[in-house]
């Protein structure tokens, strides 16, 4: 350093003017000796306007009052007051307006009396930015509070770091009692606690930006369980490390209950409708059951008599016993099918072969058809793709359509009463079932209300059959349609989408 020549005055001025901060140099009495370029820009004074004047002109009234004594004290005692520490001050421009500034003051040693240099940084922009950040943060807090969604943040030890008003509302307790509490121990029912905690921990370890959806219940202070649909994301710090989990939850207790009730109502309706159909078929079915029972009774009586005679033909006896077991199974099978249809159960979808389904139904329907002297013709297409369906419900639809056809044939002379059931695949891969009769068909004035509930032209009908059938088919993403048969009669067409059709 000592080798280098002292900087020239113009060089120093250039350095000062290049500085971003305002630089103000004063002597021990506070008289301004240097006022750089940034300072003139910041304060609105030209340097010639301030050089030789007391630095107090750059201060607020209260600061300027105390400045002389501070300065005098320091010069006298050497105890630093503001020297070496930086602080935020209000500075005054030439036009009298104030602005926030960051001030650091240094004492220039090596001269006596001492001189001081002040560096000022305009904080106006930073202040605005901070205020904006604060406003954003306030607004976020407002959103948080106003949200109709539960928002809960947890740290990695499952402690609650944030919970909004809705969250408190659902749980029925105050924010302060929840903050810091272990979320799972506090609100999650013990039987779900472990499973949910594992899920959350897995989420924290997963790659970011993939929200995790789950449903679990929380216990309110009142002891009531509320079912919540959760969407959880991991929270990260600047380095990308996971710091916790943010969960938003919607209370779905009421909507789930309503959904469940609606489903139950629908299923009840279907059940009632099935029972009604069964009632209409009861005579035919009881006849169908009587046949094997009659045969069994007769064969058994025959056995007793055959065995009572000394020269009994055991071949006859064996034949009778074989028949008995066969007929008992036949009766059991009818009852099994009947029970399956009458049983009340919730919707269960499975992959099924419609042809199989129709063959199964045929045994029940045939009894009914027989008593009405109706011939059922099955025309089942080969290689039908499987369809995802609820067996009972689709059988209900087909049985209902078949019943309608049988009823429609009542006024047709015996020997001409026919119902044809066809299955086929259409071009789109959907499976089609057509139930066609040679009956009286549907009158034109009824057509618009054909699928409307309680619109019936049957004396004993509930008017629900076709409406429920359509509901069921549509719940299977299928269609139920009608067209007139030629030369007369009705055709009902059930179209059900197959896996093949969906993928293709």
């Amino acid at each position: 350093m000592s080798d280098r020549p002292a900087p020239e005055a113009f060089e120093l001025q250039a350095l000062l003017d290049a500085a971003v901060d305002a630089v103000v140099l004063i002597n021990h009495r506070g008289i301004i000796e240097v006022f750089n370029h940034s300072a003139t820009r910041l304060f609105g004074y030209g340097s010639d306007e301030v050089l030789g004047r007391n630095v107090k002109i750059l201060m607020t009234a209260s600061d300027s009052e105390r400045h002389d004594s501070h300065l005098e004290n320091h010069v006298r005692t050497g105890i630093p007051h503001i020297i070496g520490t930086a602080r935020e001050v209000q500075a005054r421009r030439k036009d009298g307006s104030l602005f926030p500034a960051f001030l650091s003051v240094g004492r220039i040693s090596g001269c006596d009396p001492p001189r001081f240099v002040g560096f000022l940084q305009d904080l106006t922009l930073q202040k605005h930015a901070l205020a904006a950040v604060q406003r954003e943060s306030d607004r976020a807090a407002q959103y948080l509070e106003a949200a109709q969604t539960m928002l809960v943040a947890l740290d990695l030890t499952h402690r609650v770091t944030l919970i909004n008003r809705k969250g408190c509302e659902v749980l029925g307790c105050e924010e302060k009692t929840l903050l810091g509490a272990n979320w799972f121990d506090r609100v999650v029912p013990s039987d779900q606690r472990r499973k949910v905690a594992i899920e959350m921990d897995a989420l924290a370890e997963r790659t970011p930006d993939r929200p995790h959806y789950s449903e679990y219940s929380v216990t309110a202070t009142s002891g009531e369980l509320r079912l919540i649909a959760w969407r959880c994301v991991a929270l990260h710090d600047d380095t990308g490390a996971v710091t916790g989990i943010l969960c938003s939850g919607d209370d779905v207790t009421d909507s789930r209950r309503a959904e469940k009730e609606a489903t139950e109502t629908r299923e009840r309706m279907m059940h009632v409708s099935r029972l009604a159909t069964m009632g209409e078929m009861a005579s035919g079915i009881s006849h169908e059951l009587n046949q094997p029972l009659t045969a069994i009774a007769n064969y058994a009586h025959a056995c007793v008599r055959l065995l009572a005679s000394p020269d009994a033909d055991l071949i006859d006896v064996r034949e009778a016993l074989t028949q008995i077991s066969g007929q008992a199974l036949r009766a059991g099978e009818i009852i099994r099918r009947l029970r399956a249809l009458v049983r009340k159960q919730s919707t269960q979808h499975e992959q099924a072969d419609l042809n199989e389904l129709i063959k199964e139904l045929d045994a029940l329907a045939r009894a009914d058809a027989r008593s009405s002297d109706v011939r059922i013709i099955l025309n089942l297409g080969a290689d039908l793709p499987h369809v995802s369906l609820d067996r009972i419900q689709i059988q209900q639809v087909l049985l209902n359509l078949l019943r309608n056809s049988i009823d429609a044939l009542e006024s047709i002379p015996c020997g001409h009463r026919e119902v044809t059931i066809c299955t086929a695949t259409d071009g789109a891969g959907d499976v089609i079932v057509e139930i066609a009769d040679t009956g009286t068909g549907i009158a034109v004035d009824i057509l618009p209300h054909l699928f409307t509930p309680f619109a019936t032209n049957k004396a004993l009908g509930t008017g629900l059959g076709l409406a429920i059938s359509r509901t069921i088919v549509e719940a299977h993403r299928g269609r139920l349609e009608y067209r007139a048969n030629k030369p007369r009669g009705a055709v009902f067409i059930v179209t059900l989408p197959s896996e093949q059709g969906i993928s293709g």
């Binding site: 035919g284 009659t294 045969a295 009774a297 007769n298 007793v304 034949e319 028949q323 020997g415």
Partner: protein, 207 residues
Amino acid sequence: MITKSQPTVFVVDDDEAVRGSLKLLLKSLGLPVMTFPSAPEFLAAYRPEQAGCLILDIRMPGMSGLELQQQLNVRGAVIPVVFISGHGDIPMAVEAMQHGAFDFLQKPFRDQDLIDRVQKAMERDAVSRDQLRELGHIRERLNSLTAREREVLGLMTLGKQNKVMAGELGVSQRTVEIHRARVMEKMEARSLAQLVRMMIELEHQGD
């Protein structure tokens, strides 16, 4: 064509198991049995002179039991019909009885009930066939009478005295006595009462 001459139980039921079981049961009772799966097949094979009884299912596809019964009536077949029916068929059973069915059984039935009814039906068939045969004989004898003898027979059954008849016919009382003796002889009647009964039966059958 049915060729059996001994009384036979005929069974018409479209259900193979019911048919087969009835066949074995009746066979175990030592009764000749013939079964048919449909009414038309039975009608095609059955001759009215074949003795026995018919066990008939009321409900069958195509021609029902009731229709078969009517066909038999039209053909003058006297075979007694025992209907078998399920629970829901009571109105049909009533109709069957009104059309002269012998009896009906509800499925399933006890073997003793079936046996009782079959036996009674067979007895009834035998009796009615005897009666028919007897009536046939009476008619033959009646046909052997001369016109005058028939006139005398008519007056006899009205209980007219010989003297009154002679007056009505314009012949002598002696002639009436000769006609009268010939009538009794030809009709193989041992008494006037027996002769009157024969005529009542003939008249009754004519109904």
